[in-house]
Every structure is written in structure tokens, then in C-alpha cells.
Amino acid sequence: MSVPSAVRQLAAVVRKDVVLEWRGRELVSGMVLFAVLALLTFNFAFDLTGVNRAVAGAGALWVALIFASLLGLGRSASVERMHGAWEGVLLSPIDRGTLFLAKLVSSLLFLGLVDAVVLVLFAGLFGVPVLRLPVIGIVALGTIGLALLGTLLSPMAATTRAREVLLPVMLFPLAVPVVIAAVRATVLVLTEQPRDAWAWIQLLAGFDLLFLGVGYLIFGAAAED
């Protein structure tokens, strides 16, 4: 298939997801609210305003982002399967690899919005300088990693009756490298050791590239009914 037509198909699916979300506006707002409440709870649990707020904050930030991503990825997959809508998508002549990229882009758009809001609030509430390019880069790479895994796993979980449980059970162990690398890199950047962070950033980038390729190849098996 030619690249221009693949791009057109990708854009069509992404537009569908964006329009769907725009009409309901419950997914992104739900994720943002959830992430912010999680941060609030973390503040009570670990005191994110103390001396160690860079270290504790990085961990809290990423746990909040992971749980919000789980929520978003799970919801969007199950919503899409209502009323046989997913069958409609599968019946359209779109290559499964392109479909994977399209779902990935949609997820990243929503997760990116959530990331932006959470980062701004985090910087404001806890005085941690997260609105810097290195941190934003790490958050971007980590979010891509989570979105990659989620896009592959949530179609499978969504067809089961225990989807809320199954997606985290599958995602958490597989997302360990993302969690470790993202938190470590964020902490190192926030504590002014950017050179040590570089190795972790490379790990994140490698992870993302690897699962981009793997996902492109096997999404069809995960997504077909």
C-alpha cells in the first residue's frame, strides 16, 4: 500500500477518535482529574513539599501518570467496542499496522494532554522545576512507551469480562523498564545530574522503537475479533 493512502487512513481513524472524545469529553477530563487526585494523595502520603521533593515527586508523578494512562487506555478500548463499532473499523480496508499507528497516535494525543496538565499543576503545586525540556522529553518518551504497550494490550483486555483487572495485570510487569527508566531519569535531571540520565533516556528510546516495531507487526493478532 502506498504511504500517502496509509497516512490518509491513519488520519481518518485518528480524527474519528478525536471527534468521539470531543463529543463526550469524559475521557481526558476523567484522566486529568484522576491524575491530579492521585498526586494530592501522594502529597499526603509522602510529603512532596519537603527537601526530597525532587526524588519523591518524580516517583509520584510517574505513578499518577501510569494510573491515568491505564484508565484512559482501558476506557477508550472498551468504549470503542460498544455497539459493534470496532467491527466497523476492522471491516474497513485499513492495514492492521497502520491501524496500530493510528490508535497509538490517538492515545498519545489524549495522554499528551493529560501529561501537559499534570506537569503544569505539578510544577505549580510542588515547586519542582518540571517544565524544562529534559523532563518534558522524558515524560514524552515514557508516555510513548506506556501508550505502545497499552495500545497492544487493551484490545485484548477489552474483550474479556475482567477488563479493568486484566489490563493492569498485563501492563504493570511489562511496563517496568519504562517506570524504572523514566523515574530514574527524571530524578537525575531534577537533581542536576543530566549526564547520568542520558543512559536511561536511551533505554526509553530503545524500548519505544522496539515496541513500535513489534506492535506494528502483531497488532493485527491482538485487534481482530
Partner: protein, 244 residues
């Protein structure tokens, strides 16, 4: 062929009646028993006592083969998953099922033996050491694999989804290991696989190799048995569906 009497199936076509390969499981079984007996003798009577760790070091002879087999099982799942997605033949899914169950058992053994070994040596039942942590995550990935299989009811979809998870899981394990290793290191440095050769006296090395072989033969025996069991289960389900 199954015969019916009053609607009840009287005889299952047992796969083991394949005339050509009836000898495989008895051979593996007896060979395994013999090798395990031999390795037990070697472990307790032949291998020298470690000067630093004392008797607890002997757990290593169980711990290392269990670890290798746990990871080997996952590799088998990976290969079977790819083969299943390419061919859609149930035999590959059966192999994946069999390896998954065995792999989970051996991963549990690794964690248990490691914990028991660690207690006298490191003074603690558990540490977040790199290899232990990675093995723990592998244990959870196996659990996720079983969870996915159990929650999906349609058999074709079950096999396909499990194949997807098997592939993702295996590809992820090296990266998990790398990330955990950079995060922590406490584990004894690799004793066997090293460029200068194994740092063990020959008697220990021999004991370890024999035990590894014993475990591997035992593993193969269990794998074939489990595969046949799964095949019988599948046949039973097919027959029951035919009757309905």
C-alpha cells in the same frame, strides 16, 4: 474411534497410541529419574563444600538449572507464539501452554530456592537484587499470561491473544533485565558464563552440569507429558462440542 452407548462416549482416541513414538516418555522419564538420582549423589557426596558459604551453597545446584529452565520455557513460549500466529496450528498453542505451566513452576522454584539460599548467606529472605527482581517480574508476566488465557473464552482468540502476550513478554524480558540491573546490583557475579572460564573447581562444575542435564531431561519429560495432556483435553472439548 469413539463409540457411543446411550449418548456417552466410551473411548477417547488417545494420542499416545501413536505407534511410532510410544517410547519417548518412558525413556525421558527413566533417564530423568536416573540423572536426578545421580545428581543428588553428586550434590551431597561428591561436590566439595564451599569455603565461604558452607553447606547452603549446595542450593545453587538446584537454583541455577531452575533459572535457566524458567527462561528457556519463556523462550519456548516465544517460539511457539510466533509459530502459532504464522500457522494457526493448535499444536503450537499446546506447546505454549505446556511450556507456560512448566516455566511458571520453575520460576517459582527459582524464587523459593533463591530466597532459601539468601537467608543464611545474605541474612534476609528477600532483596531487590537485579536478578531476583527480574525473575519476580517474569513470574508476574507468567501470571498475566495465565490470567489472559483464563479470562478469554473463545479458544481461537485465547490462543491468539496468548501468542501476542508471549511475544511481547519475551521481547520485553531483556529490557526489563537491563533496566533492573542498572537500578541495582547485589547478586553474586556470574560464576559460570564468563570470558575467562567458570570460576568453580572442576568437581563443582561437573556436579552443576550433571544436575543441569538431569533437570533438562526431567523438563522434557514433563513437557511432553503436559503436551499430551493438553492434546487429550482439546480432543475431549472437540468431541463434546460435536455431540452438542
Amino acid at each position: 474411534m469413539p463409540e457411543k452407548e446411550g449418548g456417552v462416549v466410551m473411548q477417547l482416541p488417545l494420542a499416545r497410541s501413536r505407534r511410532g513414538t510410544w517410547w519417548v516418555t518412558p525413556l525421558l522419564g527413566w533417564l530423568g529419574v536416573g540423572l536426578v538420582a545421580l545428581s543428588l549423589i553428586l550434590i551431597f557426596l561428591y561436590a566439595p563444600t564451599d569455603s565461604v558459604q558452607g553447606q547452603p551453597q549446595r542450593i545453587f545446584y538446584l537454583h541455577l538449572p531452575a533459572a535457566w529452565l524458567a527462561y528457556f520455557s519463556f523462550f519456548l513460549i516465544f517460539v511457539s507464539s510466533i509459530a502459532y500466529l504464522l500457522t494457526h496450528r493448535t499444536g503450537w498453542d499446546r506447546l505454549a501452554r505446556a511450556s507456560a505451566e512448566l516455566g511458571f513452576v520453575f520460576t517459582t522454584l527459582v524464587l523459593l530456592t533463591g530466597s532459601i539460599w539468601g537467608r543464611p548467606i545474605w541474612g534476609t529472605w528477600w532483596t531487590w537484587d537485579a536478578r531476583l527482581t527480574t525473575t519476580l517480574i517474569l513470574w508476574f508476566i507468567y501470571l498475566a499470561y495465565f490470567a489472559l488465557r483464563s479470562y478469554v473464552s473463545d479458544p481461537e482468540r485465547k490462543a491468539r491473544y496468548a501468542a501476542v502476550l508471549g511475544i511481547i513478554g519475551f521481547v520485553d524480558v531483556p529490557i526489563i533485565h537491563m533496566s533492573v540491573l542498572w537500578w541495582r546490583t547485589l547478586h553474586p557475579q556470574p560464576v559460570v558464563v564468563r570470558s575467562g572460564g567458570p570460576a568453580m573447581p572442576p568437581a563443582m562444575l561437573l556436579t552443576m552440569l550433571v544436575t543441569l542435564l538431569a533437570f533438562f531431561v526431567l523438563y522434557l519429560f514433563l513437557l511432553v507429558e503436559k503436551y499430551e495432556l493438553e492434546r487429550m483435553k482439546d480432543t475431549l472439548v472437540d468431541l463434546r462440542d460435536q455431540e452438542l
